[in-house]
Each structure stands twice: as structure tokens, then as C-alpha cells.
């Protein structure tokens, strides 16, 4: 009796195992297609993105001036960077100020404007999206700001302020260390309707309209509730995308300070981590040192992204 039972048990067990195995095999078969789909992208990505990044990180432990072969120096670059490079500390402070202000504000602004634009009539919406996205399309259009913030009496801002009598002598907006940062922050905010903004616009379009009707029946009273309970949760993927984009752009500020405040800027007042990197990498050809800067920045950005995606998980719950 016992034997029969155990025999049937073994049989059942085996048949279950084989069933599971069959299931696993069929799954693996399907997975094979998955890898096939992923392969072209993965190969290209590893060659042109991961490999260079790994190489750069490797260079950060070497002395490498592009002409000579890299010479391994251990942590020397990092030690110099943190303990001896005063300009680096200034640049960290500046980047931090810029990132803390323009990152979240730019993110919220681009979401808000995408939200408002979404409710405009159709034809107006298309026009509005183009206009708001214009600074990003127009390439280096921010150079217009060098005319607006010009230091002599002919700069637009100076001439307006002089005419109204707010100031009695033209201000050196872009060379005075005290005013460089506010000006930069304004310009960067103006440019913040970028990738994130577009993905928000597309994301709003993708929300099922009947969700709003259902929400209204379930007792949603105003637009803020609607935003929090319906819109934000259904846009989570785009929100994460926008967040990563705004972290990237907030920490990678480089072209704007170089074009507007000069390179190097007065008293290093507009030096950011990436302009510092640019200085070492492409003016002094110390690629090892520049790679160390890039690696540190990279680590900070990863940390930042972790915090934000954890916060986004909680939205709408």
C-alpha cells in the first residue's frame, strides 16, 4: 500500500517536474526570441556606450595625456581632486546650486506647462508645443542672452533698467561674480523645456479619457485631485523618464556658462563640474584627471536618480 502510494507520488512528482520542465523549456524558447530582439541594440550599445564608459573609468586611475600611453597612478587623481583642487570645490558648489534649483524647478515647470498646454484647443496646442520646445530645437539660441545681459548700456536689460531709472550705471551682468549665477540659472530654466517636456506632452496624450469620467463619478472634486490620483499615476513612466533627463541636464551644465560667462569665467564664479572637466580634458589634455571628474559626477547622479525614483514610486498611492 505504502509502496503504491509512494510510487504514485513519485510518478505524480515526475510528471509535475516534466510538466514544469516543459513549461520552462517553452518559456526559454520564448525568451530566446526576446534575446534575439534585444541583440542588435545590446551589441551596439555595449560597443559604443558601455565600453567607452568603462574605458573612461579605467583612465580615471591613470595619468593619460592622450599622446603617451596611460600610466597607472591608482587613486592619485581622486586624491588630488578632492584635497588639492580648490577650483573643483568651487565648481562642485556651483553645480550643486544650479542642479538643486534648476533640476526640480525645471522639471516641475515643464510638467506644468505640458499640463496647461494639454488642455488648450487642438490647433493652439500644436503651436504652443512648438513654441515652448523652440529653445531646445534652436540649438545654441541661448547666445541671444549675451545681447540681453550685455555689460554696456546697449544690452537690452541694462538699457531698460537705465531708462526706468532703477540703476544709474550699466551692470556687468556676465562678468560680475555676484550676478553670474542668477543669470545662468535664469537661462538654464529658460532652456529646461526639453526632452522631458516633450515626453510629458506625449504622455498626456496617452491617458485614457474615460479614466477622468470614472474618477469624477468616484468623487474627484477638483483638478488637483484629478492630477494627483489619475494623471500622475498614469504618467509614472514618463515622469521617471523626465526625472532622469532633468538630472542629466541639471548636472551636465557646460555650454551655457562657457558661452555666456566666458571660459574661464571671472573668479571661476561660473565654473561647473563639467566645465572643469572640459578644461582639464580639452585645454590641458589631462584625460585621466578629467575622467576622474566624470566618474565622481556619474556616481552623484546615480545616487540622485535612486532617490528620485524611490520618491516617484509613492506618487498617487
Amino acid at each position: 500500500m505504502n509502496q503504491v502510494q509512494s510510487g504514485s507520488f513519485a510518478k505524480r512528482y515526475l510528471s509535475m517536474r516534466s510538466e514544469k520542465l516543459g513549461y520552462g523549456l517553452s518559456k526559454a524558447k520564448r525568451m530566446k526570441v526576446c534575446y534575439l530582439f534585444l541583440a542588435p541594440y545590446a551589441i551596439l550599445f555595449f560597443t559604443f556606450f558601455i565600453l567607452p564608459i568603462c574605458t573612461s573609468i579605467f583612465y580615471s586611475f591613470t595619468y593619460y595625456n592622450i599622446l603617451e600611453p596611460a600610466r597607472f597612478v591608482g587613486l592619485q587623481n581622486y586624491i588630488n581632486l578632492i584635497l588639492q583642487d580648490e577650483v573643483f570645490l568651487t565648481s562642485v558648489k556651483n553645480t550643486f546650486v544650479i542642479a538643486v534649483i534648476t533640476g526640480p524647478v525645471g522639471y516641475i515647470l515643464s510638467f506644468m506647462f505640458a499640463w496647461f498646454i494639454n488642455e488648450l484647443p487642438k490647433w493652439l496646442r500644436a503651436v504652443a508645443v512648438v513654441i515652448f520646445y523652440a529653445p531646445s530645437i534652436a540649438g545654441n539660441a541661448f547666445t541671444v542672452f549675451s545681447i540681453i545681459f550685455r555689460g554696456d548700456a546697449y544690452g537690452y536689460l541694462n538699457s531698460i533698467l537705465l531708462n526706468f531709472g532703477f540703476i544709474d550705471a550699466p551692470q556687468l551682468w556676465l562678468t560680475n561674480p555676484a550676478s553670474i549665477m542668477p543669470v545662468l540659472i535664469i537661462v538654464i530654466l529658460w532652456m529646461s523645456m526639453g526632452t522631458g517636456f516633450l515626453s510629458f506632452v506625449a504622455g498626456f496624450q496617452g491617458i485614457d479619457k474615460s479614466m477622468y469620467e470614472a474618477g469624477y463619478v468616484d468623487g474627484i472634486r477638483n483638478r488637483w485631485q484629478e492630477l494627483y490620483y489619475i494623471t500622475l499615476p498614469s504618467m509614472k513612466p514618463m515622469l521617471l523618464f523626465g526625472a532622469v533627463m532633468s538630472i542629466t541636464s541639471a548636472f551636465n551644465v557646460c555650454d551655457v556658462p562657457r558661452a555666456l560667462a566666458g571660459f574661464p569665467s571671472t573668479d571661476y564664479a561660473a565654473r561647473t563640474v563639467v566645465t572643469h572637466l572640459f578644461d582639464y580634458g580639452f585645454s590641458r589634455f589631462e584625460m585621466g584627471y578629467a575622467s576622474a571628474i566624470a566618474t565622481i559626477l556619474f556616481l552623484v547622479m546615480i545616487l540622485c536618480k535612486k532617490v528620485i525614483s524611490a520618491a516617484l514610486e509613492k506618487v498617487g498611492t
Binding site: L44, S56, F116, M193, Q205, G206, Y216, L240, F298, I302
Partner: protein, 406 residues
């Protein structure tokens, strides 16, 4: 029943063959029909009316039929869940029905209590619920207009400069709009382009080729990868995606040199592959496509599986049409970056250079070519903007019709 909190209508009810004159009181929970002597003949609690479901699910009206023990039937039309009246006239002879909506009733009560009553606003434009106040609307429009102007300023400035005759270009301080607009700059640009060492059409062909192939390849390769990453759970998938997102954050400046070394090892320097292959694998496209595809219901894909569709078929004819806004956005990004790619580091034969490079050479001509340089800025900007505008209208159209969501 409290004195005020009910809606009264008088008339005649027919119960079986009996006709009774009386009054129908309806309050928030039930409707009661009373005779003149205030005897309740009939009580109908709303909770028992099952067909009010329509209202509970957001409909505006519901017809309710009640069958009594003596087989007499009553039909009520409930409007907005608040108005109650008998919709069969013959039951309510002689007198018109007196009905109030609940809002009217509440307002009347508030007036009785001496509270301040808000008048109902009439909206010119019909808008969806819940609503914003008119003031809020106007405020938002004004803000959008102001910010929009600030955003459009560089575009206006660039176009304005391109239309300025030479003397206005050097006027100081610079004006935003030209006083005597002219197309001279553009015709000068055409003349200069006609004299270039490599025929100008060559530059144009190069750029169009790079932009087109690069965008198409990126779209297909990135979407394929995004599709499996978003919709299948396979070992390594998540790790791969998080690597892509992380790689997005590494500074592009330092990777330039290792990138060059890799390309020269692969013998791709001075070929278009050096531009195209990295463009195919741009992380932004994959990231964006994946985020959008995650919004597609898995049931849709499972259903297709059951119907016997293969993975590629599902990808091509089910997933891709449903994420049109995403891929149009990806096209915009890709076109924008490829079109503006001057490719000076990886391509050195003149005949393979791009349009933007050629135009930048004209721009670099200094003071003598200021007018043409302004025209160049507009030409370079125009193409991404046109593609953007075209795909924008596409996005809006496609999304209006597709309602497939979880």
C-alpha cells in the same frame, strides 16, 4: 421625514384600479406617496432600485420601474440622480409636476436659513468636469502667452536677423525685427553654396542620408529592444535596462576619446557607420519607447499570442501602432541630433561631410558673411522644426482614436 428636506409634487397615483389623489414626497433616500390625509400609501427606498446603476456609473439619467404586489407598475425617470418624477403623465392627472433638482432645493433651504447663496455661473465654453474657475483659466492663458513669448524670442530674433539687410545687421544695439525685410541673405547663401568645392547637393544628400537611415535604424532597433524589455520578464532584461538608464548619465565629453579609439579599431573612421551605429543605439530612444510600451495592456499581447501571432507580428502590427506618440517623439529627438551633427571628429573627407558642417564653414566666414550666417541659422533650424510640426499633428490625431489602455 424632515420638513424641508424633500421635494413635493402633487397629483394622482393609480394603484391597480384605484385612483388616489395625493402628494409624492421625495427626499434623499426614498420617495413616499401620501394621501391627502397624510397617510403613506407607498414607500420606495432608492436603495432598492437596482437599475440606478446607470447613475452610479456616471450616467446622467436612469429609468426605474417598480412592480408592486398587485402587479401595478410605476416608472420613474431619475435625472442626475436627484430629480424624481413620474414620467407617465396619466398617473399625475390635471396638475403639472412640480420638481426641483436637488441643487435648487438645497439653495432654497439655504435661503430659508439666511445663508449666502452662490449664483450658478454660466460658462460660454462647455468644459469638462471638474472645472477651473474662469479667473484661473484667464490667468493660465496670460501666463502661457507671456512665457510663450519668452520661449519664442530666440526664434523670432533668429528669423528677424536673417531678414535684415546688411546695414541693419550691424546696427547697435541690435533690433529684434527688421525695418526693411529682405531675402538678400538667402539668395547670397545660394550663390555661395553654388561655388563650393564639393557640389552643394552632395552635402545635402549626405545629411539627408545620415538623418534618414540613422533615425529609421534607431527607431526599429530601439523599439525592438524596448518591446521585449517592457513586455517580457526574462533573465537579464531588468539589469540591461538599468544599465542603459545609468549610462545615460555619464558625461559625453570624456567618452569621446575612447569612442574614437574603438571606431578606429573597427575601421569605421571616415565612413558613415561611425555616425550611424552610435545613433542606432542612442539610449534616449530605448528609454522612451520602453516607458511608453509599459503602458500597453499585457492582455492585448496575450490575446495575440493565443491567436497564434508570432513575436515579430505582435511587435509590428500590435505594439508599434499603439505607441505612435512615443515613436514620433523619438523621431523628433533623433532627427534633431543627426541633422545638427557636424561630424567633424569621425569624418574627414570633404565629400562625406554633412550639410551643417558646410553651413558652419560659411558661418565661420566672419564679418563679411554675417548676413549669410544669419540665414544659415534659420535654414539649419527649419528642418527639425518642420518635422516637429508635422509629427505633432500626427501625435494629436492618433491619440484621439486609440483607446486601448489598461
Amino acid at each position: 421625514m424632515s420638513e424641508f428636506n424633500k421635494i413635493k409634487s402633487t397629483g394622482t397615483a393609480t394603484l391597480g384600479k384605484k385612483k388616489i389623489k395625493g402628494t409624492l414626497f421625495s427626499d434623499e433616500t426614498q420617495a413616499v406617496f401620501c394621501t391627502k390625509k397624510n397617510e403613506a400609501v407607498l414607500t420606495i427606498p432608492y436603495t432598492e432600485i437596482k437599475s440606478m446603476n446607470n447613475i452610479r456609473h456616471g450616467g446622467l439619467s436612469s429609468t426605474v420601474t417598480i412592480k408592486l404586489k398587485d402587479d401595478s407598475e410605476y416608472s420613474f425617470l431619475l435625472v442626475e440622480g436627484q430629480k424624481v418624477y413620474n414620467n407617465i403623465d396619466k398617473f399625475w392627472l390635471n396638475k403639472p409636476l412640480q420638481t426641483y433638482s436637488r441643487a435648487e432645493e438645497l439653495r432654497r433651504l439655504a435661503e430659508l436659513r439666511g445663508e449666502k447663496v452662490q449664483k450658478v455661473k454660466k460658462h460660454v465654453i462647455k468644459r469638462r468636469h471638474p472645472n477651473r474657475s474662469i479667473g484661473g483659466d484667464i490667468g493660465i492663458y496670460i501666463m502661457l502667452a507671456l512665457v510663450g513669448f519668452a520661449m519664442a524670442f530666440p526664434l523670432i530674433f533668429a528669423v528677424g536677423s536673417a531678414l535684415k539687410p546688411l546695414d541693419e545687421l550691424f546696427r547697435f544695439p541690435p533690433t529684434v525685427l527688421p525695418q526693411h525685410p529682405t531675402l538678400d541673405n538667402f539668395s547670397d547663401l545660394l550663390v555661395t553654396m553654388g561655388q563650393s568645392w564639393v557640389p552643394f547637393s552632395r552635402y545635402l544628400t549626405n545629411t539627408v542620408f545620415i538623418t534618414f537611415v540613422g533615425t529609421l535604424g534607431h527607431l526599429i532597433i530601439a523599439s525592438m529592444a524596448a518591446f521585449v524589455l517592457a513586455k517580457y520578464d526574462f533573465p537579464g532584461g531588468r539589469t540591461f535596462f538599468s544599465i542603459v538608464v545609468t549610462a545615460l548619465m555619464f558625461s559625453g565629453y570624456v567618452t569621446g576619446i575612447p569612442n574614437y579609439v574603438i571606431m578606429s579599431k573597427l575601421k569605421m573612421i571616415d565612413t558613415y557607420w561611425a555616425l550611424l551605429l552610435p545613433a542606432f543605439a542612442a539610449p534616449i530612444g530605448l528609454f522612451m519607447m520602453k516607458q511608453f510600451m509599459e503602458g500597453l495592456p499585457t492582455a492585448l499581447i496575450e490575446a495575440a499570442h493565443i491567436d497564434g501571432a508570432g513575436e515579430f507580428r505582435i511587435f509590428w502590427s500590435i505594439v508599434m501602432p499603439n505607441v505612435k506618440p512615443a515613436w514620433l517623439t523619438v523621431i523628433i529627438f533623433s532627427v534633431q541630433s543627426l541633422w545638427n551633427n557636424s561630424a567633424t571628429t569621425v569624418i574627414y573627407s570633404e565629400a562625406k561631410k554633412t550639410l551643417v558642417y558646410a553651413l558652419q564653414q560659411i558661418q565661420a566666414g566672419g564679418i563679411a558673411r554675417t548676413g549669410q550666417a544669419a540665414a544659415v541659422t534659420v535654414v539649419v533650424m527649419a528642418v527639425p522644426i518642420i518635422i516637429f510640426v508635422l509629427s505633432q499633428s500626427q501625435i494629436l490625431e492618433t491619440m484621439a482614436s486609440s483607446g486601448i489602455k489598461d
